[in-house]
């Protein structure tokens, strides 16, 4: 499950993620990170589901880190897409690829909703609602 973690300035200097990794032993993967003195924003992939996932999310919340699950995902308008490939190599997580017959394919699991492809699409066929 991909999750966005937002650290306010009160907690930005605390090693919340490291603590949770040490406590749970889970390999939480950082996909994206923007951190400065005022605020931190991480996109992480947590290899857990169901109750275990909820437990981990609760640990973040208890450490006063705001948690937001990635429920929204890219929408590719297949009618409009010309399968050019302009979105493929700029994608930092390799979520876009050519399938058979050179048609664009999207791997939702890898997407971190960074919007790079939205801007890179010449025919504006990709939207992030």
């Amino acid at each position: 499950m991909r999750v966005r973690l937002t650290y306010s300035y009160q907690v930005v200097e605390k090693p919340v993620l490291a603590d949770i990794i040490l406590k749970t032993g889970l390999q939480i993967n950082i996909l994206e990170a923007k951190v400065n003195a005022q605020k931190g924003e991480l996109v992480v992939s947590i290899p857990a589901t169901g109750r275990e996932l909820e437990k981990i999310l609760a640990m973040f919340k208890q450490a006063e880190v705001e948690v937001q699950k990635f429920t929204k995902t890219l929408h590719i308008d297949q009618e409009s897409c010309i399968s050019c490939g302009a979105c493929i190599s700029p994608c930092p997580t390799r979520a876009l690829n050519f399938g058979p017959e050179w048609t664009l394919e999207f791997d939702e699991e890898k997407c971190v909703a960074c919007r790079t492809c939205v801007d890179a699409c010449p025919v504006r066929a990709i939207a992030l609602p």
Binding site: C84, S89, P92, D119, P122
Partner: protein
């Protein structure tokens, strides 16, 4: 026998080129890519009372109006005056072809014969007398690929290029590309009947920048927009670069001899281009070559640069190129498109020359100041502040004993340091300094300053020794002196 280029490749692989040359009559090619040198001649007809349109817009996109009263040329890279980068001439062409209503606005100074000064109406493609797609340069034979060595994302006409060789983009259909299939310019020429934008069009000569000796041929093409389909003419946006038109072109290659047959069977792994570094803002042919690669490597999705596997992807659509080669094959078999013999073949001896600049380009050397006031990292903040005030400057490079640049402070840094009661310069200076070299163009450095939101840069030599300083004030002073009014 009519084969698509992909089928021709297979036949030559299995049966050899001699057999293919005998058995195959025509090979169909195709490409679908962004082609910025495209546009349409439009004739609106006369209003009553009539107007000599001196300025004209379609959906707020300006047309070229240096023509007769109601003729105009709509170029695909023209930007909408209200929607900017999101809509342009290419989009108007797509919308026209799709049958959509388009707002027409025109202005004039009024004459005895054309008294009207203003017109505002709504038109569709059916209302136009002529709508002729006429593209000065389409169908590049090959196109150099792009990457980016700098440490920031750049937005180019080759798409989004990630920092530190983060990706590679390329364009062209390679083994399906029309001019790759007629590599020696033996069949395509003026009058060749082609698939253009989903309708029938013609090659009307070499394209601009046609460079046959180097294997970078181009075509000028024309076709009736009214017969075309919007699926094969798509307005496009290159983020922070501009707008364009994706054009679908397919050209039949009559297999007139074995040499043509063998060119028509060229594969992606036999067609090579350079990968160039778009991070260096020089003339296109001077952009450093990073690697020489085949279309097969580029299309594989990954190219190795040094030790690194770099993702590569196309900007033009191979899928659409393939569709076009299939449609063209069908058209020929159904006799919907009859092959023509060109009146004249393309020139094989042209050169693509760069623009000669008579006036010397302003470089950093011309505008920088060489008497640089500097500070040492151990200096006291208050002394330094005093120095700035006395000398009336805003930027103070910090150097070591050898005069090598190690930091910079501005008057703003000092104000903040004094407010926060910091004493030593080393504690407050910016260590990652944006610099310039003395032989760089002023335009390039001005853009760098704007990007980093700074008003001055130390000028250093190759060993980071400080040799000057350049501020926005220096640039504006130089421009006024030199009579230039714009940057």
């Amino acid at each position: 026998m009519v084969l698509t280029a992909e089928e021709m490749i297979k036949l030559v692989e299995s049966g050899g080129v001699e057999v293919a040359a005998k058995e195959v009559d025509v090979v169909t090619s195709g490409t679908f890519g962004a082609m910025c040198s495209s546009g349409a001649f439009l004739n609106f007809g006369h209003a009553d009372p009539p107007i000599k349109m001196t300025k004209c817009w379609l959906n707020d996109v300006p047309l070229y109006k240096g023509l007769a009263a109601v003729d105009g040329y709509l170029g695909v890279t023209a930007l909408s005056e209200t929607r900017g980068f999101e809509y342009g001439g290419g989009h108007v062409i797509e919308d026209l072809v799709a049958g959509k209503e388009i707002e027409l606005r025109a202005e004039s100074y009024g004459t005895d014969c054309y008294p009207r000064r203003h017109v505002e109406t709504v038109i569709t493609i059916d209302d136009l007398n002529q709508a002729v797609l006429l593209n000065p340069r389409n169908c590049y034979q090959r196109y150099d690929a792009a990457t980016n060595s700098t440490d920031r994302v750049i937005y180019t006409y080759m798409g989004t290029l990630l920092p530190n060789y983060g990706n590679i983009t390329f364009s062209g259909a390679g083994q399906l590309n029309p001019l790759c299939k007629d590599w020696n310019y033996e069949t395509i020429g003026i009058g060749t009947r082609i698939f253009l934008g989903g309708g029938i069009g013609y090659v009307i000569g070499e394209g601009t920048q046609h460079s046959p000796k180097k294997g970078f041929g181009t075509l000028m093409v024309r076709g009736d927009l009214k017969q075309m389909k919007s699926q094969y003419l798509r307005g496009g946006v290159f983020h922070r670069y501009g707008v364009t038109l994706y054009v679908g072109v397919g050209i039949p290659i009559p297999i007139v001899n074995e040499k043509v047959a063998s060119a028509a069977a060229l594969r992606d792994d036999e067609i090579f281009v350079d990968i160039r570094d778009y991070g260096v803002p020089t003339r296109p042919d001077l952009r450093p070559v990073v690697k020489h690669v085949s279309y097969a490597e580029l299309r594989s999705g990954k190219v190795t640069i040094g030790e690194k596997d770099v993702p590569s992807s196309s900007l033009s659509s191979y899928k659409m190129a393939r569709d076009i080669s299939e449609i063209l094959k069908k058209w020929i078999l159904e006799e919907k498109l009859l092959l023509t013999k060109p009146v004249e073949l393309l020139p094989t001896q042209r050169e693509f020359k760069p623009l000669k600049i008579k006036e010397k380009e302003l470089s950093v050397r011309d505008a920088m100041r060489t008497e640089v006031i500097t500070a040492k990292p151990d200096d006291d903040v208050k002394d330094v502040a005093r120095k700035l005030v006395q000398k009336g400057i805003d930027h103070l490079p910090v150097v070591d004993e050898q005069r090598k640049l190690i930091g910079i402070v501005t008057s703003w840094d000092l104000a903040r340091a004094i407010a926060n009661d910091k004493r030593k310069l080393a504690d407050i200076m910016t260590k990652r300094v944006i610099t310039a070299l003395d032989n760089e163009s002023i335009d390039v450095v001005a853009r760098r300053m704007a990007r980093h939101n700074i008003s001055g840069v130390p000028v250093v030599d190759a060993s980071n020794l400080i040799i000057g300083i350049l501020t926005t004030d220096d640039i504006s002073r130089k421009l006024i002196e030199g009579g230039r009014t714009t940057v």
